[in-house]
């Protein structure tokens, strides 16, 4: 029996649904709807729906988590009245935003104004299609998942700038320009840090990268790369201390100043989706994904759905780190940010590539041959 | 006595344009001067008497005339001095103190806005609190305080 994956689950659901439908229809039509191609098509839709639901639920949970955590850092409570400990507060907020009128400034460019949040949202969701959450999620589907994820991730400045430009507001424009500059500047160290991981794991496939961490997680040899990657992710996610594009003190709300109602909710959700993606990437690349080193007792790691549970635990811990940073650090300035990116992060990332190469080379030495070398 | 010294010095320098120095408890005194020597007096007080800091500029509407007063602070003597000049009500104009103390800018705009005193040589004498084009100077006694409707209508017509 093939290992159960998320897609096989979706396939089974689709088949069952269509079978049910087929029983209600006349024979000819039933034959048509239960054709393998139709089942496959519906299975894809179901798969996407599951992914969408999981990612959105997690995002909303993430917002709640940040609110509660940030509240404790600030000696207050965060959301607490809607639902248990305020769990449903974000749904209430979302409902409120849904009901709100979406106002478009008269001079704003209509197409860009509407397209930008939608595209931002869609690209952010798209990344979840390639992220393996655990062994049974969507592994082995694509060979270059890491690169694909990063490529989709880097679409964002385009749409942000589009929305900023389209909303015809000076704050938005400045925010958009900052956003573009910052994201492009931090793409480089992020990619270089990822190269270090790739050197060590020998693969662009996220599943392979995780599997390579069975023996030791990559954060230990690649600590420098981790720092670069986390800092770069903070910049990409536009979170404090690198949230200059929406620096509310000087730019009101930055590039989404003119957005309200559902469009703002899109931006907001997409921001947290990207934060989730960032945390997931950190876990995948450096913290061993759903695996544990072999010396961890297997009782801890082998219960049903252990992979997903541990993966989410790690992800939320990483995001907690981001929240902690947000609670303690002020925002840096654009020039300082760029200088940090180009002058500090890039050399550090390069150094970490060298370190990764050294580790790989050391593994090949017969003296240290206890570690199995990597193919390819 | 600082006041006596200053009085003598001012009398020697400005002659009859210096109208006297009244005692004012807690201050050096209150110098009354003729508005025609305002600029020279400011420069003299700043450069030679050490009153480096302009603390306030304001106006008083005494119905038949208007008074403009300045308060200066001397870092050397750690004390205040008040200047006061009477201006005719129909033409309340005096030289601006901005070239002497740049900080006078906002003070003088405020005095123009609220009491209607014109400062000649002010770089940017516009209203500061009231809307541009507002008809009244609110701190004048002629301000129609008891007819709010009138105020509202006139403000809106701008």
């Amino acid at each position: 029996m093939a290992p159960m994956t998320l897609f096989s689950v979706a396939d089974a659901i689709a088949a069952a649904l269509l079978g049910l439908l087929g029983r209600l229809l006349p024979a000819g039509a039933a034959h048509a709807v239960t054709a393998p191609d139709v089942v496959l098509g519906l299975a894809t839709v179901v798969f996407a729906a599951i992914l969408l639901a999981a990612s959105m639920l997690n995002t909303i949970l993430l917002i709640w988590y940040e609110r509660k955590l940030l509240g404790r850092f600030m000696d207050r409570r965060g959301a607490m009245h809607v639902g248990f400990a305020g769990l449903l507060q974000n749904f209430a907020d979302g409902l409120k935003l849904f009901r709100k009128d979406t106002v478009r400034p008269r001079e704003a460019d209509s197409l860009g104004f509407w397209a930008s949040p939608t595209a931002y949202m869609i690209t952010s969701l798209l990344i979840f299609g390639v992220l393996p959450i655990s062994t049974g999620w969507n592994d082995g589907s694509l060979p270059l998942t890491l690169l694909l994820a990063l490529v989709i991730f880097s679409f964002a400045p385009l749409f942000i700038f589009l929305g900023a430009w389209a909303s015809n507001n000076k704050y938005s424009l400045i925010g958009g320009m900052r956003s573009a500059a910052q994201m492009i500047a931090y793409e480089v160290p992020i990619l270089l840090a990822v190269v270090a991981v790739v050197v060590l794991s020998g693969s662009f496939d996220l599943t392979t990268i995780v599997n390579e961490q069975r023996n030791y997680w990559f954060w230990a040899p690649l600590f420098l790369a981790l720092i670069v990657f986390v800092a770069g992710m903070l910049a990409e996610m536009e979170r404090i201390p690198f949230d200059l594009p929406e620096a509310e003190a000087e730019l009101v709300e930055g590039w989404n100043t003119e957005y309200g109602g559902m469009l703002f909710a899109f931006f907001m959700l997409a921001d947290y989706l990207r934060a989730l993606v960032g945390s997931i990437l950190v876990v995948l690349l450096f913290l061993g994904g759903w695996t544990w080193p072999s010396y961890v007792p297997s009782a801890l790691t082998s219960f049903p759905l252990a992979g997903i549970v541990w993966f989410m635990v790690k992800t939320y811990l990483v995001f907690g780190l981001f929240v902690w940073v947000r609670a303690a650090l002020p925002r840096v300035r654009t020039d300082q940010l760029l200088r940090l990116g180009w002058m500090r992060m890039v050399p550090l990332a390069l150094l970490s590539i060298v370190l990764a190469a050294v580790v790989v080379a050391a593994r090949c030495l017969p003296v240290l041959g206890c570690i199995p070398s990597i193919g390819g | 006595m600082r006041g006596v010294e200053l009085s003598a010095a001012l009398a020697a320098r400005f002659g009859d344009k210096f109208l006297g120095l009244d005692p004012f408890p807690g201050l050096v005194g209150r110098v009354r001067f003729d508005p025609s020597v305002a600029r020279a007096l400011f420069e003299y007080l700043r450069d030679e008497q050490g009153f480096v800091h302009l603390t306030m500029v304001g106006g008083i509407d005494w119905v038949d005339h208007r008074e403009v007063f300045y308060t200066l602070w001397s870092d050397r003597d750690r004390t205040y001095l008040q200047l006061s000049a009477d201006l005719p009500a129909d033409h309340p104009t005096i030289a601006s103190a901005v070239p002497v103390w740049p900080g006078a800018n906002a003070h003088e705009r405020e005095a123009w806005d609220l009491v209607g005193i014109r400062f000649e040589g002010h770089p940017d004498l516009r209203r500061i609190f009231m809307p541009e084009g507002y008809e009244f100077h609110p701190l004048l006694r002629s301000f129609p305080i008891h007819e709010p409707e009138e105020l509202e209508v006139k403000a809106r017509s701008d």
Binding site: R72, F73, D75, R76, R77, W324, A327, A328, L329 | -
Partner: protein, 265 residues
Amino acid sequence: MADSPARTGSPPLETTETERPSLWVVRPLATAAKQFAKSLWRPSTIVYPFERLEDPKFRSAVGVESGRPIGVGEIWDNYRGVHALNIQTCISCNLCAFSCPDVCIEMVTVPGGDPKHPKKCPEIDYGKCSFCGFCSDACPEGCLTMTTRYELSVHKRADMVYSPQKMYEVFQSKLPMNPIRVARPENEDAIRLDPPLCIGCFACSRDCPTNCITMVDIPKATPKPGEKPAKRIWKEPVINDSDCVRCGTCISVCPKDCLFWGSRE
């Protein structure tokens, strides 16, 4: 920091930096983490509708003594909130209305007075009130006081106006009253009479809220020997200073302006 000059009282130096960044951002991160640990169980916020600082039990639990103060602990019940009016003791002296800087107090007739001189008590429009407390400070009988109630939201603007009866209900609800009695100068001025101007019209004694003005007979003029004494008996007011609340009603009703404020001596 323990030997900060301000703490020890020794002569301090120039302003010095008490902190230097160490390891870039480790210090603030550590501080935030410390606060996180501290507020994990009980953050410093008050869950307002459920916990109230005016609740003595709650505020003593979160006072300065508790180590993690939310309030200062004991707060005296002198908050200036909604007014309480004791209609029974109100003497309709008008002082609260006179003293109000925002002109939000109007004296309205309440049942209980005699028809000729209806009893008037204050009605307060909280839409205008600034809670300065001048009215309760002015009240000579202590019948208009301020309570610790601060929740005033209403749905209609008309509900912002508190009638005397409504304030009497507040009084009857036994809220903690503002215990502060204002310092009054020892040597208050009192009302004096300019006798030659008085026409003996009784207006002052009729309108005096405390009935401290009595009209006494005076001989108008000493009759000359052999002349008949004047038939008409003149009266003029005599004011009992210890009962007088100095509301000035008599001055304002005097048709001849013969009453005035004078020093006690």
